[in-house]
């Protein structure tokens, strides 16, 4: 059932935005935050370089905020449309389908919190993002756990999303190609989760 356009186009855009730009943005986070492994100065230096991108705010709104809002609002509606039945039909893909929806909600809540604290409130208060700022949050165990859960949810949602994206766009057709991609996505989940966790530990100091 379509929320805006009837059906096809909005679903396709929803599927696409999950990978580009949102998935790309997630990867960007993992890359940027990996600089923390080389020490606070190096991290701060790189982050500052990013802040220098011209037209940052319009770019953030056009390429991040709008696609993210689109993907989120429609996605939540799609979550509402499903009636899960994992207790009855205990198939692997059915669990993945269920987890995709669970992680959607977790990621949504986490991104709300994260975007507010790390971007909106910070900018409003005129604070520059820095190692010290992140360290201030992540050194508290509770917030570290919140970030860890958010990371795992987002990474799961992304890597499983690649699997479904490939079907939704008719890339992987048969069971064999789908199985191979399934394995690739599983590997991707573990790699990204691992890298992300190491980065969080580094930022937590």
């Amino acid at each position: 059932m379509g929320l805006i356009t009837g059906n096809f186009l909005e679903r396709k855009i929803h599927s696409l935005t999950g990978i580009i730009p949102i998935g790309v943005f997630l990867l960007e986070h993992l890359i940027t935050n990996s600089f923390a492994l080389k020490g606070p100065e190096y991290y701060n230096q790189k982050i500052e370089a990013f802040q220098q991108i011209p037209f940052l705010v319009p770019i953030e709104i056009l390429l991040i905020a709008i696609p993210l809002a689109f993907h989120t609002i429609l996605g939540l509606y799609y979550v509402y449309l499903s009636k899960n039945n994992v207790l009855q039909y205990k198939y692997f893909r059915n669990y993945m389908f269920y987890l995709q929806r669970i992680t959607a909600i977790i990621t949504f809540l986490f991104v709300l919190y994260h975007a507010y604290t790390a971007r909106i409130a910070r900018a409003a208060a005129g604070i520059e993002i820095s190692y010290e700022f992140m360290n201030g949050i992540l050194s508290q165990p509770l917030f570290f756990i919140i970030y860890l859960v958010g990371l795992l949810a987002a990474v799961f949602h992304f890597s499983n999303g690649i699997y479904t994206f490939a079907i939704s766009w008719g890339i992987t057709l048969g069971p064999r190609s789908q199985k191979i991609l399934q394995n690739v996505c599983t590997a991707l989940f573990f790699i990204m989760s691992g890298v992300g966790t190491i980065e969080l530990i580094a930022l937590a100091g």
């Binding site: 059932m1 009636k83 009855q88 389908f97 479904t164 079907i167 057709l173």
Partner: protein, 248 residues
């Protein structure tokens, strides 16, 4: 070996009636299936408490898993009752009607919507008439084989029952008709009207409502390659969508 078969059946007099559970014990015989047990009950409709009751109402026709009529939820899983062999089921055996369709009575449900969906997607080859026009198109055997796989769909409703995206909140037309669309789109004569089918499944409740839970292929008693068909249609509709957008 048990000396009796213990059944728990969800019974309901009509769609507005409240369901209740009734239990039965039927003397064990080897090689029985769920339907033959139900047939035993109607020869002596007495429940486990020794009370006389009405015979259980259910749908069935062929008893060899080709007609799809006797589909119900057995021990929590959707399947045909005729091929549900008692010797392979843990007891007590629970029988429930399909949950996604209106209950008529007891285990009998109204699955008319399945056929409505086939109508909606124009699941047929649009021939001019049944008169003799000579042989039809030649078809490579390899092509025929997978089209035949899809054309074995008996519209039983298993894939609908298992699909999390087919429910009262959504308008999804379900997995089975999508596979039929592919089958008719690839048939040499059916392909002549493929745009109509394509436009339909690109509309409300169409192919993009599939959430890739892939329960359909697990639940399908005929192991019809539903997920491959859906993925193929995803590709076809995307290409069709892009093409027709540029044509405008």
């Amino acid at each position: 070996m048990p000396d009796s078969i213990h059944l728990k059946i969800k019974r309901q007099n009509g769609s507005r009636d409240l369901p209740r559970w009734e239990e039965f014990k039927v003397p064990y015989k080897p090689n029985m299936n769920v339907l033959s047990v139900l047939m035993e009950i109607r020869k002596n409709p007495v429940n486990v408490n020794g009370e006389k009751t009405t015979p259980v109402v259910w749908d069935c026709s062929c008893l060899e898993e080709v007609c799809g009529a006797c589909t119900m939820v057995i021990n929590g899983n959707v399947r045909q009752a005729c091929s549900a062999l008692i010797d392979k089921l843990p007891q007590p055996i629970t029988l429930q009607p399909l949950s996604k369709f209106p209950v008529v009575r007891d285990l009998k449900v109204d699955r008319a919507v399945l056929f409505e969906h086939l109508k909606k997607v124009k699941a047929w080859v649009n021939i001019d008439g049944t008169f003799d026009l000579g042989p039809g198109p030649r078809v490579p055997e390899r092509e025929r084989r997978w089209m035949y796989e899809i054309s074995r769909c008996m519209t039983c409703g298993c894939c609908y029952e298992a699909c999390p995206n087919f429910n009262s909140r959504s308008k999804f037309i379900g997995p089975a008709p999508l596979a039929q669309v592919l089958r008719f789109n690839k048939h040499p004569i059916g392909a002549m009207t493929q745009e109509e089918r394509m436009e339909t499944i690109m509309g409300e409740g169409g192919i993009t409502d599939c959430g890739n839970a892939q329960n359909c292929i697990e639940a399908c008693p005929k192991k019809i390659p539903l997920t491959t068909a859906i993925a193929q249609l995803n590709r076809d509709t995307t290409i069709h969508g892009i093409r027709s957008w540029f044509r405008k």
